[in-house]
C-alpha cells in the first residue's frame, strides 16, 4: 500500500524535489545557517522586486536557448558538453560583427545581423565538435571540452589583443557597446521581451521539429537505436552533424543575448558563457528530455541562480549554493528514477 502510494500518487519530480531540498537543508545546517532563512533569501533574491524578477527573466532567456539546442543533441543521443564554447563563439561572432558595422548601419540592422553572426559562430563551433567526432573519432565530450577552452582563450586573446580597449587592455572586457545597440527593455523593468520570446520560440520550434518533422524523427531514431536507424536508411552521419550545428546555432544566439541583452554588460569578456550551457544540460536532464518541462525548469533554475547571488551579500554564503541545489535536484531525479524502476516495478 505504501509503495503503491509512492509509485502512483507522488510523481517522480515531487519526490526528487523533496529529496534535493532536504539534502540541501542538511548542507545548510552543517554550515550552521537556517535552511528556511537561506531558501527565503533565494526566493526574495529572485522575486523580491521587479528589478530582481527582471534579472531572473534575462537569465532565463539564454538558458532557454541553450536548453532548446541541447534538446536536439540529447534527442540524437549526443553529449554536447561543448555548448559552453558554442555560446562563447556566438558572443565572439556577434561582437565582431557589431564592431565592424556599428558605425555604418542603423542599430536595428546591426542587431539583427549580429544575431545571425551569433547563430553562425555557434553553429560552426558545434559542427567542429561533430567533425572531430566523425572524422577524428574524438568523443564529443572531449572534443567539446577542448573547444570550450579554445573558445575561452580566443576570447582572452581578442580582449587583450586586437579588440582591447583604448588605452591599456584588461581582462574586464572590450569597450561596451552604446545603448543604441542594446535590446530595448521597459522603463522600470529591465528585461527585454525579445530575449524571452526568442527563447520560448526556440523551445517551441525544437519541440515541433522533434515531433513533427522528418529530420526530428530521424534524430530521435538515431538517439534511441543508431543501428536500426541506419538500416532504415537514415543518413546518420549527416543528421548528427546537423544536430551539432543546430544546437551550436541556438547556443550562439544565447551568446548574442549575453552581449546585447538588457542586463548584459554589453561587451565581450572572459567566461561570458557564465556556465549557462552546463546549467542547461542539467535542465534538460531534469526535464527528462521533454521540451515542455524544460520551460518551467529552466525558469526555476534561472531563479535559483539569480536568487543565490543574494547569499554572499546578505549572509556569509557562497552563491554556488544555487548550483548545489540544482545539482542535487538532478541527482535526486536519477536516484529516484532508479529506485522506482529497480525496486518498485515488481510490486504491482
Amino acid at each position: 500500500m505504501n509503495k503503491e502510494f509512492i509509485r502512483r500518487i507522488i510523481p517522480l519530480q515531487i519526490a526528487a524535489i523533496l529529496l534535493a531540498l532536504s539534502l540541501s537543508a542538511v548542507i545548510l545546517t552543517i554550515l550552521s545557517i537556517s535552511p528556511i532563512d537561506a531558501f527565503s533569501l533565494i526566493l526574495s533574491g529572485a522575486f523580491g522586486s521587479p528589478a530582481k524578477l527582471a534579472y531572473v527573466l534575462t537569465a532565463w532567456a539564454p538558458l532557454l536557448l541553450c536548453s532548446a539546442g541541447l534538446l536536439v543533441t540529447f534527442a540524437a543521443g549526443l553529449w554536447n558538453i561543448g555548448i559552453e564554447g558554442q555560446v562563447v563563439m556566438g558572443a565572439v561572432f556577434a561582437t565582431g560583427l557589431m564592431r565592424i558595422l556599428q558605425d555604418s548601419l542603423p542599430p536595428s540592422a546591426v542587431l539583427l545581423l549580429a544575431a545571425l553572426a551569433g547563430l553562425l559562430g555557434g553553429a560552426l563551433w558545434g559542427m567542429l565538435v561533430g567533425g572531430l567526432r566523425r572524422y577524428g573519432s574524438v568523443n564529443e565530450i572531449f572534443g567539446g571540452l577542448g573547444l570550450n577552452f579554445i573558445a575561452g582563450s580566443l576570447t582572452v586573446y581578442l580582449i587583450l589583443g586586437p579588440w582591447k580597449r583604448p588605452g591599456i587592455g584588461s581582462t574586464s572586457g572590450t569597450e561596451p557597446f552604446p545603448p543604441s545597440l542594446w535590446l530595448p527593455g521597459f522603463k522600470d523593468f529591465q528585461a527585454s521581451p525579445i530575449e524571452m520570446i526568442l527563447g520560448l520560440i526556440a523551445i517551441a520550434s525544437v519541440a515541433i521539429a522533434l515531433r513533427d518533422t522528418h529530420f526530428g524523427l530521424r534524430l530521435r531514431a538515431v538517439g534511441m537505436n543508431m543501428k536500426a536507424a541506419f538500416l532504415k536508411g537514415v543518413p546518420v552521419d549527416q543528421d548528427l552533424f546537423l544536430a551539432f550545428g543546430l544546437c551550436g546555432a541556438l547556443a550562439g544566439l544565447a551568446g548574442w543575448v549575453l552581449i546585447v541583452g538588457t542586463s548584459a554588460r554589453h561587451n565581450l569578456y572572459p567566461l561570458i558563457s557564465s556556465g549557462y550551457g552546463y546549467l542547461a544540460i542539467l535542465v534538460v536532464l531534469l526535464a527528462n528530455l521533454k521540451p515542455f518541462w524544460s520551460v518551467p525548469i529552466s525558469f526555476s533554475f534561472a531563479a535559483i541562480s539569480m536568487g543565490s547571488l543574494q547569499l554572499p551579500l546578505q549572509r556569509q554564503l557562497d552563491s554556488s549554493l544555487g548550483g548545489v541545489i540544482q545539482g542535487m535536484l538532478v541527482l535526486s531525479v536519477l536516484v529516484i528514477n532508479g529506485i522506482r524502476s529497480r525496486w518498485l516495478r515488481h510490486e504491482g
Partner: protein, 487 residues
C-alpha cells in the same frame, strides 16, 4: 565422471526450452547431443555448466546431487564448457588468458605457468604462443586455449558447443584427436552439434533433442537416416515449388569472397532471377549471414562483384542499395530492426519519407492502421514497438519492408510466428514474387526452407552448395545441412 540430468525443465517467457529432459552419460565416453537450432541443446548445456539454473529437475555427478549457482562453481566441481564463441579476453595475451582467475596466488609466476601451458598443449598437439594476443588467434586456436585452461583447472566433464563451425579441417582433426585422448584418460566429453557425420565418427553414443525433449538415443552404429528422423520428426516434407516462371536476373554474385573475424566465404557465384525464392540454409554462423549482408551493401566483399538489376553495386554505400530497391530485414528485432521507444506510426513515418519537411501524421497513422490490418499486428498505431509481443514485433518488421522491392533479403522472416501467421506472411511474400520480386532468406527451419524456396543454398563452414528443392525431401536437406556432400 558420470553425468546424470533428471527431468530438467527450463522456460523463457512463452518458450519451453527444456521440457523434462532426462539424460545419463557414462564416464570416459564421448557423448553426442544432436538437434536442430532451437531444439534445446544450448539451454540444457547452460544448465549443466552453471549458467542457468533449471526451473525444475536435478543434476547428478557421480551419483551425488549437486547445485551450481555460477559457471565458476560448476568448474570447481569439474564441469567446464567450451563456448562456440570462446569466452576469453581478446585484448590479453595467451598466457594471461590461461592464468586469469586461477591460480589464486597473488604474484604471477608467468615463467612457471608458461611451461605448464606448454606441457598441456603439447600433450594434445596444440601449438599456442604464450606471448600472442588472443585477438590474433583463430577460433580454433582460441578453443585449444580454452580446453587447455579448463583441463588445467581440473575439469572432468568437458562440454563443447558446436565447436567445428568456424575452424579449419586441420584444426578439427587435431581437436578430435584431443577429444579421443581425453576420453581415454577417463574424462567425459559432451559434444553438442548438428553435424551428423562428425557426431557419427566421433561419439560412442548420441542423444537427439527436438522441441525441448529427448526424441531418441542411439549407439553409434545407428544409420544416419534414423538420426535424421529423430531430429526432424516423421513429417515427410518434400519441396513442391517446381514450376515457377522466372524473370530477368535481379541479383548476380560473381566470384564473391567475404570474411569476418571468424569465417570466410570464398568464390561464391550465384544468380537470382525475378520471382525466385532462394533459401539460405545451414547452422547459424556458417556464412549465410555474411552473404545476405553483402547483398544488402552492409559488408564490403574482399573480392568479386555484386550486381543488382544489371548495376554493379560492389563497394557502394548502403544508401545506394536502398535506392536500388532492396529491402533488408535483420534477425535481431530490437537491436537492429526496430526502435523500441517508437510507435508503429513513427516507424511508418521513418521508413516512408517524403520530400516534405513535416510529417503527415494523419497519413502515417492511416498507413500504420492499414499495415496493422494487413499483417494482423496486435497493437495500435500509437503502441510503442517495445511493448509488442515477439510475434507482433516480427510482423511489424515485415510490414515495414518496402512495398514493391526488387530484392528482399530476410533473416529468419517468420521466427516467433505461429503456423497460421507464417502461412499468411508467405502468401504475402509469394504475391510479391509474382510481381517480380526476388527473395533471399535465411531460415533455420528446414521445412520452411524446403516448402518456400525454389532453390536452397546450403552453407557449411563457409562453403556453399546449391540444391534444387523440387522433389527434394527433408532428409536430403537435413543430411546436407549436417555436412553431407561437402567433403
Amino acid at each position: 565422471m558420470k553425468v546424470e540430468l533428471k527431468d530438467i525443465h527450463k522456460r523463457f517467457g512463452p518458450i519451453q526450452a527444456n521440457d523434462g529432459i532426462t539424460l545419463s552419460i557414462e564416464p570416459g565416453t564421448l557423448h553426442g547431443l544432436l538437434g536442430e537450432n532451437g531444439a534445446g541443446k544450448s539451454t540444457l548445456m547452460k544448465v549443466l555448466s552453471g549458467f542457468l539454473s533449471p526451473d525444475r529437475g536435478e543434476i547428478r555427478l557421480d551419483n551425488k546431487t549437486i547445485r551450481f549457482d555460477s559457471p565458476a562453481e560448476a568448474v570447481a566441481l569439474g564441469v567446464g564448457m567450451l563456448h562456440q564463441d570462446p569466452l576469453d579476453f581478446p585484448a590479453l595475451r595467451v598466457i594471461d588468458n590461461f592464468l586469469l582467475g586461477s591460480p589464486r596466488e597473488f604474484l604471477l609466476d608467468r615463467k612457471y605457468h608458461q611451461t605448464r601451458l606448454a606441457e598441456l598443449a603439447n600433450r594434445f598437439g596444440f601449438r599456442l604462443d604464450p606471448e600472442a594476443r588472443v585477438s590474433e588467434l583463430s577460433i580454433g586456436e582460441r578453443q585449444q586455449l580454452e580446453i587447455v585452461r579448463l583441463l588445467a583447472l581440473g575439469v572432468n566433464v568437458l562440454i563443447l558447443d558446436e565447436p567445428t563451425t568456424a575452424i579449419s579441417t586441420q584444426q578439427r582433426e587435431s581437436l578430435f584427436r584431443a577429444l579421443s585422448q581425453l576420453t581415454e584418460e577417463g574424462k567425459t566429453v559432451i559434444f553438442v552439434s548438428h553435424k551428423l557425420d562428425e557426431v557419427k565418427s566421433l561419439c560412442s553414443k548420441v542423444t537427439v533433442l527436438a522441441h525441448g525433449r529427448v526424441t531418441g538415443e542411439a549407439a553409434m552404429d545407428c544409420p544416419t537416416k534414423e538420426l535424421v528422423k529423430m531430429m526432424f520428426g516423421q513429417v515427410l516434407t518434400v519441396g513442391k515449388r517446381c514450376e515457377v516462371r522466372l524473370g530477368e536476373p535481379i541479383l548476380e554474385l560473381q566470384n564473391l569472397s567475404l570474411s569476418d573475424w571468424r569465417l570466410e566465404v570464398k568464390d561464391l557465384s550465384l544468380k537470382v532471377q525475378a520471382g525466385e525464392v532462394v533459401g539460405l540454409a545451414g547452422l547459424e554462423g556458417s556464412g549465410q549471414q555474411l552473404v545476405l549482408r553483402a547483398c544488402a551493401g552492409l559488408l564490403r566483399p574482399s573480392a568479386g562483384r555484386i550486381w543488382i538489376a544489371h548495376r554493379d553495386m560492389t563497394g557502394r554505400p548502403y544508401q545506394d542499395f536502398i535506392e536500388a530497391s532492396i529491402g533488408y530485414m535483420p534477425a535481431a528485432r530490437l537491436e537492429e530492426g526496430l526502435i523500441a521507444g517508437m510507435t508503429l506510426a513513427e516507424h511508418i513515418a521513418l521508413t516512408e519519407r517524403g520530400p516534405s519537411l513535416f510529417i503527415d501524421w494523419t497519413m502515417a497513422v492511416e498507413r500504420a492502421s492499414q499495415r496493422i490490418r494487413e499483417f494482423n499486428i496486435k497493437g495500435q498505431p500509437t503502441t510503442f514497438v517495445g511493448n509488442l509481443s515477439g510475434g507482433n514485433q516480427q510482423r511489424t518488421l515485415l510490414s515495414l519492408l518496402p512495398s514493391q522491392p526488387k530484392l528482399l533479403l530476410m533473416e529468419h522472416p517468420t521466427r516467433g510466428l505461429d503456423m497460421e501467421s507464417m502461412e499468411y506472411i508467405w502468401r504475402l511474400l509469394q504475391a510479391l514474387t509474382q510481381q517480380g520480386t526476388a527473395i533471399l532468406f535465411i531460415s533455420s527451419d528446414p521445412e520452411e526452407l524446403l516448402e518456400r524456396s525454389d532453390r536452397i543454398a546450403i552453407f557449411f563452414g563457409g562453403k556453399v552448395r546449391m540444391m534444387d528443392t523440387c522433389g527434394a525431401s527433408l532428409f536430403d536437406l537435413g543430411e546436407s545441412i549436417g555436412g553431407k556432400g561437402f567433403e
